[in-house]
Every structure is written in C-alpha cells, then in structure tokens.
C-alpha cells in the first residue's frame, strides 16, 4: 500500500513538473533552454512513480 501511495505522490509531482516546465523555452540539446532540464527531471519522477504504482500492485497480489 505504501509503495502505491508513494507512486501516486511521485506521479502527481512528475505530471505537475512536466506541465509547469512546458511554459519555458526548451531550446536544443546544444543550447538547452530553461525548460528542458526540469522537464527531463519531471519525466524521470513520473516514470519512477509509475514503476512504483506497478510494483505496489504486483506486490499486493
């Protein structure tokens, strides 16, 4: 249960981070804009959150 709850918490934070970072210019890889790094980080949080939800559901069975 704890794993699922923390997964949900992280997913919410990740989605919010991605949405908020999209307000800033992304730039290109050779000239990264202010939005690119936070959106990569937020996507990472979202992925971790989803893995945790999945893992919690497998554990619960």
């Amino acid at each position: 249960m704890k794993t699922i709850l923390s997964g949900i918490l992280y997913s919410i934070i990740g989605v919010a981070g991605v949405i908020l970072s999209n307000k800033y210019p992304m730039g290109e890889l050779y000239m990264m804009g202010p939005g690119l790094f936070p959106s990569i980080i937020s996507s990472g949080i979202l992925i971790c959150g989803l893995i945790l939800i999945l893992k919690g559901m497998i554990d619960a069975r």
Partner: protein, 483 residues
C-alpha cells in the same frame, strides 16, 4: 607538504578558529547525546548563523559538530539503549549489555578512546590522500563532472533506500526543487508561482530544516520510548579492556576510513560494517568491549574521511556533506579541485582542526560525561518546543520573510509524509544541492560538444563513471527483485 601543514597549524590554532572548533565539538556532543536531534538538522538550523563567519571557521565548526556527534551518540546508546544518532545504533548491542553488567563507565571510556584513535588516523589519511585526489580531479571537464555527480546521486539513492526506485525519485525531486529560481544561463525565473521569495530559489536551510529538523521533531515527539538513565559510571576499564580495544579500534578505523570515501557512505554505514567485520575476530553480543570499540572507531573515521571527496572534488557523499557543500557555495567558494590549491588555508586549516577537535572531544566526553547524562533526562516537552522555535527563527532570519517559514513548514509535512511512506529523504538533500551544479555542467558539456553525447563515450573517466552508474542501477534492480 610541510609548508601546507604549517599553514594548517597556523590557521587552526588562531584564537578564533580554536573557539569555533570548541563550539562545534560542544554542540556536536550535545546533538549526539540527545536522541531525536540529528547532525543534519543541527547544521541546517546553523546555516544562517554562518553567513557572518569566514568559510574556514564555518567548516571547522560544522566538521566539529559532525565528528563530535559521533562521540556523543555512543554515550546515549550505552546508557539508555537508544542511539543519539543513527551511526550508533549498532553500539547499543554490546554497549548496553555492558551497562547491564555494571560496566557502563568502561564502555564510555573505550568508546571515547576508540573514537580518538580513529579521529587521529583519519586526519592523517585526509592530509595524505586529498591532495593527490585533487590532481586527478583537475583532469575533469564538464562532461566528467556531470557523470561524477550523477554517480554520486544514483549510488546514494540506491544505497540509502530500501526501494531503489523510490530513492531515485526522491533524489530527482530534490533536483526539481533545485530548479526553482533564476536560471543561470537564460536569466528566466523558473517556477516562482508569482511569489517574490521564490525568485532566488528556495533557501537550502529551509529545505534541510523542514525535511530533517521538523520531521525529526514530529517523530521524536510521538516516540514514547522511556528514557531510563543508569547513573553508575564509576567503573573504569581495566588493562585487559584496553588491550582488547586496540586491534578492534584499528580495524574499525580502516573500514570506516574506506567507507567514508565512497559515495553513499558515511558514519552510519561505517559503524554497521565495522561491527559486522569485527564479528569475524571477536565474540560479540554479550557486552564485549570490541563491540563498542570497532563501530565507534568506524563512525568517527568515516565522519572525517567524508571530507576528502567534498574538499578535493566538490562531491558530497551524504546529506551532511551536501549541507557543508551548500554552505561553501553560500560563502562564495566554487566547489571543486581548485579549493585545495586556491584556498589552502581552508583545506589545511579544517584538517588540522580535526586533531584539536578530537582532543577537545576526549576531554568533553570522558571526564565530563556526567554533564551529558543529565542532559538526557531533560523532558521532551521542554526541549522540543525550544528546538522548534529555533527552526522557525532560522527559517525567518535569513530574508526576514514569513514565506520562508511557510515553505519550511510545508517541507516539514512533506518530510513526515516521506517518513510514513518509508522513504529516506537523504537523496533529496543531495539532489537539491547537486542539481543546479549538475545542470550547469551538463549544459556546458552539451554546448561544447554541439549537442552530441560523444564526449561521454570517448572520455575514459566518463566511461568508467557511466559503468559504475550502470553497476549501481543493476544493484538496485537486484535489490528490487530479491525482495
């Protein structure tokens, strides 16, 4: 080398620095003795006070708190079977057993002496080892640095949390919090939500006080473990005890010094591993002197050698070191290998001060142990509100802003939620401090290479670091599947 040592002695023996060294050791002992108050939260409450100090004095004092707490925490573990710091959890086993056998005094003396032996040896290791590591670090470019930071973050995330994915996520969350504020490259203010106080980013002290300090207070207040103090302290160790202490303390020092160097290492893991290793040599568990000597030597050695990666390369290896790094940045020092070369008085002063500090601590913790014992019996309902007020004051005083206090309290609640969900918050602190540095180096590396990842695959240092990152991720995967 001799010139540098002379400079170190001159710096450390200035009246001002001896004073701050003493203050650090004194505070560290108090923090160590009191369960429920950790080194991280103490350091973070103190950050605003260090704004007026020189960086050398600040680091001397903060270092004193860290290794001083290793001395103090054993007292509490031995006397009431409740570790003052998590680095003395393992000392409870044999230490408290000795108290029950009526040998508490001997245990406290041995703990103090082993810590002292470890402290002196670790200081020598720092002086010998850190400068040569710096030479290696000078070969690092932006790409190598970003790999190094990523490795530090991932290893800590994987090692400190039971669930490696949760650990990585909490580290990333720290990096995201570090993004708040003005972007260095474009001068665009990110994630300020229209709040003026967020334009310069969240203060490191607010994050640390909230996540560690407030959370610990809530937990400590709800913790109902009785504190029974055994006050028979008059039995000193005999010759046999001291003879058995030496080899155990030296083994503990070896293990601790090594673990202090590694990312994710630190006093807590060092004391645990020293105890496990000592089991091969001695019969532990029923109040053996070796079971006190080895872990107490280990945690003190690790607390000191942890300064090697911090000062030689600018890489913190646990939450305590990331706060030290943050205070260095606040003091205007660019962390990295240039610190030892450009600010020799800082590095050598801090190193030599550890010798003085350990001497002060032996005096504070062995003959004066009675004072600290009384401290344990201060009731929580008097102590905790006082510390809470200090937390609030510390958050308020930097910018005289109420918003900072609210941010700190919100993070405190978040920290408690993490605790309820079994998530260790140490990677968050590291991510917060390293995140902005990582972003800066990574963006620089990418613009040098014109957007190609090639330098990450052609530089031998990068390849080794990336392989290590891969190794840690596989370790994390293994940990996840095994459970």
């Amino acid at each position: 080398m001799l010139d540098n040592l002379a400079l170190g002695f001159a710096t450390a023996f200035s009246l001002q620095n001896i004073f701050y060294c003493f203050m650090g050791c004194f505070l560290g002992t108090i923090v160590g003795v009191l369960p429920g108050i950790s080194v991280v939260s103490t350091l973070s409450i103190l950050i605003p006070l260090t704004y007026t100090l020189s960086p050398t004095s600040t680091l001397i004092m903060m270092a004193g708190i860290y290794y001083g707490a290793q001395y103090g925490s054993s007292t509490c573990a031995i006397l009431i079977n409740n570790p003052g710091e998590n680095s003395s959890v393992i000392t409870c086993i044999d230490g408290y057993a000795m108290t029950q056998n009526g040998r508490a005094g001997a245990a406290i003396v041995v703990a103090g002496l082993s810590s002292f032996i470890a402290g002196c040896i670790a200081t020598v290791i720092i002086a010998l080892f850190a400068p040569s590591l710096t030479e290696l670090a000078f070969k690092f470019g932006p790409a190598e640095y970003s790999c190094m930071m990523l490795m530090g973050l991932i290893s800590i995330a994987v090692l400190t949390n039971n669930d490696p994915v949760a650990g990585i996520a909490v580290g990333l969350l720290g990096m995201l919090l570090g993004c708040i504020g003005t972007d260095v490259n474009s001068a665009i203010s990110r994630f300020n939500f229209g709040v003026n106080a967020l334009v310069d980013g969240v203060g490191v002290n607010n994050i640390a006080v909230g996540i560690f300090g407030v959370t610990e207070l809530i937990r400590g207040y709800l913790d109902k473990t009785p504190r029974v103090v055994h006050s028979k302290l008059n039995i000193m160790p005999n010759k046999d005890d001291l003879k058995r202490m030496w080899p155990a303390a030296l083994r503990g020092t070896g293990i601790g010094s090594f673990l202090g160097l590694l990312p994710g290492g630190g006093a807590a893991i060092a004391s645990y591993m020293s105890y496990v290793f000592e089991k091969r040599f001695s019969k532990l568990g029923n109040g053996a002197i070796e079971g006190v000597a080895a872990p107490e030597a280990g945690n003190n050695a690790a607390a000191q050698t942890g300064f090697i990666p911090l000062l030689a390369m600018g890489i913190p290896e646990n939450a305590v070191m990331s706060i030290m790094l943050a205070t260095m940045i606040i003091a205007g020092i660019q962390p990295g290998p240039s610190v030892i070369v450009n600010q020799p008085e800082l590095f050598w002063g801090v190193t030599v001060s550890m010798l003085i500090g350990n001497l002060i601590l032996v005096i504070l913790n062995i003959p004066l142990v009675g004072i600290w014992v009384k401290l344990i019996s201060i009731p929580k309902h008097l102590l905790f509100p006082l510390i809470f007020l200090l937390c609030v004051y510390g958050a308020y005083v930097v910018n005289h802003s109420g918003v900072d206090v609210i941010i700190m309290l919100v993070l405190g609640v978040l920290g408690y939620v993490f605790y309820l969900l079994d998530i260790q918050p140490a990677p968050l602190m590291l991510g917060f401090v390293l995140g902005p540095l990582f972003e800066e180096y990574f963006r620089r590396a990418m613009s040098i290479s014109r957007g190609s990842f090639e330098p990450f695959l052609t530089s031998p240092i990068c390849v080794v670091l990336l392989l290590l990152i891969g190794g840690f991720l596989i370790l994390g995967l293994y940990k996840m599947v095994k459970r």
